[in-house]
């Protein structure tokens, strides 16, 4: 404790100043810094996936073009899908989990700060490993769903698919660790009075998403293990010649894959459930219903996976069940939409960029929801399966839903993280170019799909008469790309010299706005006591909380130690998985040694200052 005492003498506040510099970021266990690293990394991968999409759009602009080869096209669409889902949409949501959840529940950090850092580093290394495949001109090329038997060593002899299954296995570890961390944080670390039914919706949706993560990821982990054993050690899981069943892969993939869809969308629902009330100056309409609808979506999301497989021929009974389940899941989703509209109804609405993106989500996601209802019907699905209609649908729900929601969150919470506003003029440019570019890209795909243009094919015949839709889509994609550049320009400019933001720039109701922007590294000098769902909107409660939260800590609060073991363990895990690619058992066994060593050192290292 003597070192603490000396440092206290240096600063008038009594708490440590937060260190800066590269090493402090590498060893950080601060959820706010980890969030920023998540966000920046995911944004970089967003551009990587975006460039892949743009190349495909130019290839498809006119029929029978050959700007790129069919093989490169296969790699591009596989990497675009894998990147956007696993390296962009998921980690960007996790960036917000990290930044916002501890602040919203009144905690000083997450339950397992080092595990949190480990998740980030595994995500980074896993993403780099996946993209390293480009250096060998062997990027994965069997689509993001990796159907058997296309992925077998017979039909995909190169290392392309190895890069895919290994990097996804690595990334899965980060997701499970993240899920465990946020469940524990939300169950265990709420400030006094922060009952479950007082938690902001974003925290609630993080909670539901975390359950989906810890339950869905193990299923694909096993499927990937089967695939890896088939490819490297000659097992026969997906080998029809030996009695294996390729449809098993589809089941396992989609048992993971459909909850995954809700892993992507629920965080966005959470964001706009916080943004819309703030900018309508009204509490969320039907709070418990929105919470229950979110939980219900999480549950039913487990019973709809075979709607991805109607063309397999599972029989009328199975198909009917999944048609019904899929249509039922539209109900809680619709309930939420009505709740958001009812929240705005009669409110004094401020059209900030965050609010515009939230309203944009309502409009665009609903279009995606409606096309989803269309191919929820098995007979209709047979017509639309594997066409651009489906491509239009899932971009409407994932970009129009998940990404729009996260961008709303970006404009909403950026002032908290940086102490500065994002430029609203640029923000509105970002929003409108996104809306126009996005709709121009994906709306025409409904038509080209209906006219029979198949997805995942590098070109199409002029006789199909879909050139005009593809040209519109390509023009739209260019506008959409411009919107992304505007966003990054805005981020960079505003981070450096944006207008200064106060602690509560929006007049918002939740705890994260009760502390300075940016927050101290310990978040709360003392933990506030919460007495309602909108603590900062209630006279009396607001003053009581601010009296506690706006001060500075008189002594260094009990904060976790920085650690370099997360990055080392993440590196050794990535190395161990990379060695799996050799297929030589003793090399693989050797790879486990550093993992074991780092885990041991991690376990022996004190997580908190007083632990030694």
């Amino acid at each position: 404790m003597s070192s603490v005492a000396t440092q206290q003498a240096d600063t008038h506040s009594g708490a440590h100043e937060e260190e800066t510099g590269l090493w402090s970021w590498i060893t950080t266990v601060d959820h706010k810094r980890i969030a920023i690293m998540y966000f920046v990394t995911a944004t970089i991968f967003f551009f990587v996936g975006g460039v892949e999409a743009m190349i495909m759009r130019f290839q498809l602009m006119n029929p029978e073009q050959s700007l790129i080869s069919a093989e490169l096209y296969n790699q591009l669409f596989t990497m675009h899908g894998t990147t956007m889902i696993f390296l962009v949409a998921m980690p960007m949501a996790v960036a917000f989990f990290n930044y916002v959840v501890p602040l919203q529940i009144g905690a000083r950090d997450v339950a397992f700060p080092r595990l949190n850092a480990l998740s980030y580093w595994i995500f980074l290394f896993g993403g780099l490993y996946l993209n390293a495949s480009w250096l060998f001109a062997a990027a994965p090329n069997a689509s993001w769903v990796g159907y058997a038997t296309l992925t077998s060593s017979q039909f995909s002899p190169g290392v392309n698919v190895d890069f895919w299954f290994i990097s996804l296995s690595i990334l899965g570890i980060a997701s499970i660790a993240g899920g465990v961390n946020f469940i524990t944080t939300i169950v265990n670390m709420r400030a006094p009075g922060m009952k479950l039914m007082r938690m902001p919706l974003f925290t609630w949706m993080t909670f539901v998403t975390s359950f989906l993560l810890i339950t869905a990821i193990p299923v694909i982990a096993v499927a990937l293990i089967f695939l890896g054993f088939d490819r490297l050690f000659g097992t026969v899981f997906f080998d029809p010649g030996m009695g294996g069943d390729p449809v098993l892969w589809q089941h396992l993939f989609w048992i993971f894959g459909h909850p995954e869809v809700y892993i992507l969308i629920l965080p966005a629902f959470g964001v706009i459930s916080d943004v819309i009330p703030t900018f309508s100056k009204k509490p969320l309409f039907g709070y418990p219903i929105v919470v229950y609808a979110g939980i219900l979506i999480g549950f039913i999301g487990w019973g709809v996976w075979s709607h991805h497989m109607f063309t397999v021929g599972l029989g009328p009974i199975a198909d009917s069940f999944f048609v019904a389940a899929t249509m039922i899941i539209a109900i809680p989703t619709g309930v939420k939409i009505f709740n958001w509209i009812a929240t705005m109804w009669g409110g004094s609405i401020r059209f900030t960029t965050a609010m515009l993106f939230s309203i944009g989500l309502l409009a665009v996601f609903t279009v995606g929801g409606l096309s989803g209802i269309m191919h929820a019907s098995a007979p209709v699905n047979l017509q639309q399966h594997d066409t651009y209609f489906v491509v239009a649908h899932f971009h409407y729900v994932i970009v129009g839903g998940a990404m729009m929601g996260l961008w709303a969150g970006l404009y909403y919470w950026f002032p908290k993280a940086s102490g500065r506003f994002l430029n609203e003029t640029l923000g509105k440019w970002h929003f409108w170019t996104t809306m126009i570019g996005f709709n121009l890209t994906f709306f025409p795909m409904h038509f080209s799909g209906m006219f029979g243009m198949p997805r995942r094919i590098y070109t199409y015949s002029a006789d199909l008469n879909v050139a005009i839709y593809n040209q519109l889509a390509t023009i739209g994609a260019v506008i959409f790309a411009i919107s992304a550049v505007i966003m990054v320009w805005n981020l960079v400019q505003s981070w450096r010299k944006g207008e200064k933001a106060p602690a509560d720039p929006w007049g918002a109701p939740h705890l994260e706005w009760s502390i300075p922007s940016p927050p101290h590294h310990y978040n709360f000098p003392e933990l506030p006591t919460v007495r309602s769902r909108e603590p900062l909107w209630n006279d009396g409660e607001r003053e009581e909380i601010l009296a506690v939260t706006m001060g500075e800590a008189t002594e260094e609060p009990h904060m976790p130690n920085p650690s370099y073991w997360p990055i080392l363990l993440a590196a050794s895990i990535t190395l161990a998985w990379a060695l799996v690619m050799t297929g030589v058992w003793w090399v693989i066994a050797l790879g486990i040694i550093p993992v074991f060593f780092c885990t041991l050192m991690w376990g022996l290292e004190p997580a908190f200052p007083e632990d030694h």
């Binding site: 469940i183 810890i214 299923v219 026969v236 009695g243």
Partner: protein
């Protein structure tokens, strides 16, 4: 609960320490992991195109013996935790040693069976039965092995007085893991070996 709070330095909302709650959550995840492996085995039951088939090679007697040994290791685990909580270092070390030894006997017997099955011609690549059987039970064995190493480290820390009654939760959580691995084996034993 005072122990839990002391180990974690934080009062938690549930009174359960973060470490223990997080570990329970992880075990929930593990349930889905083994659930998928076991389901695959069940789905592939009877799809093997070539022998040997399960009924020809499984010996219920041998597996019952190894299963019993593993089950008794859970009892030893409980007694080890009890001894740590009561600051009985010597007993704690003996019971942990018993856990590791019984885990070792289980693994030894199982590998003996593996060798026998391979002799009969059942390999990782011979049929859907071989693939799903070895990957399922192999994953379980890796879990047992990991548990044994964990117990070894705990034993060393008890021996060097780094774990006493205030840190007993470290042993308790390792015990959760060990019991979980046991319970999974009971499911595997029932579904794989007992159902003809």
């Amino acid at each position: 609960m005072a122990q839990a709070a002391a180990a974690d330095h934080h009062a938690t909302n549930t009174g359960i320490s973060n470490f223990k709650l997080g570990f329970w959550t992880f075990l929930a995840s593990e349930c889905l992991f083994f659930g998928t492996l076991i389901s695959t085995y069940m789905v592939y039951k009877g799809t093997a195109l070539v022998g040997p088939y399960p009924a020809e090679i499984f010996s219920v007697i041998t597996t019952t013996v190894s299963t019993t040994v593993l089950l008794f290791s859970s009892l030893a685990m409980v007694l080890a935790l009890d001894a740590v909580q009561k600051a009985n270092k010597k007993a704690a070390l003996w019971w942990l040693f018993a856990v590791i030894a019984m885990g070792g006997i289980f693994l030894g017997m199982e590998f003996q069976s593996y060798l026998k099955y391979i002799d009969y011609g059942l390999t990782l690549t011979s049929s859907t039965f071989g693939s799903s059987y070895y990957v399922l039970t192999g994953t379980h064995k890796v879990h047992v092995l990991f548990g044994m190493i964990w117990m070894g480290i705990l034993g060393w820390r008890i021996y060097t007085n780094r774990i006493g009654p205030p840190q007993a939760e470290q042993v308790e959580v390792a015990g959760l893991y060990w019991h979980f691995v046991d319970i999974i084996w009971i499911v595997i034993f029932t579904l794989v070996y007992l159902i003809p």
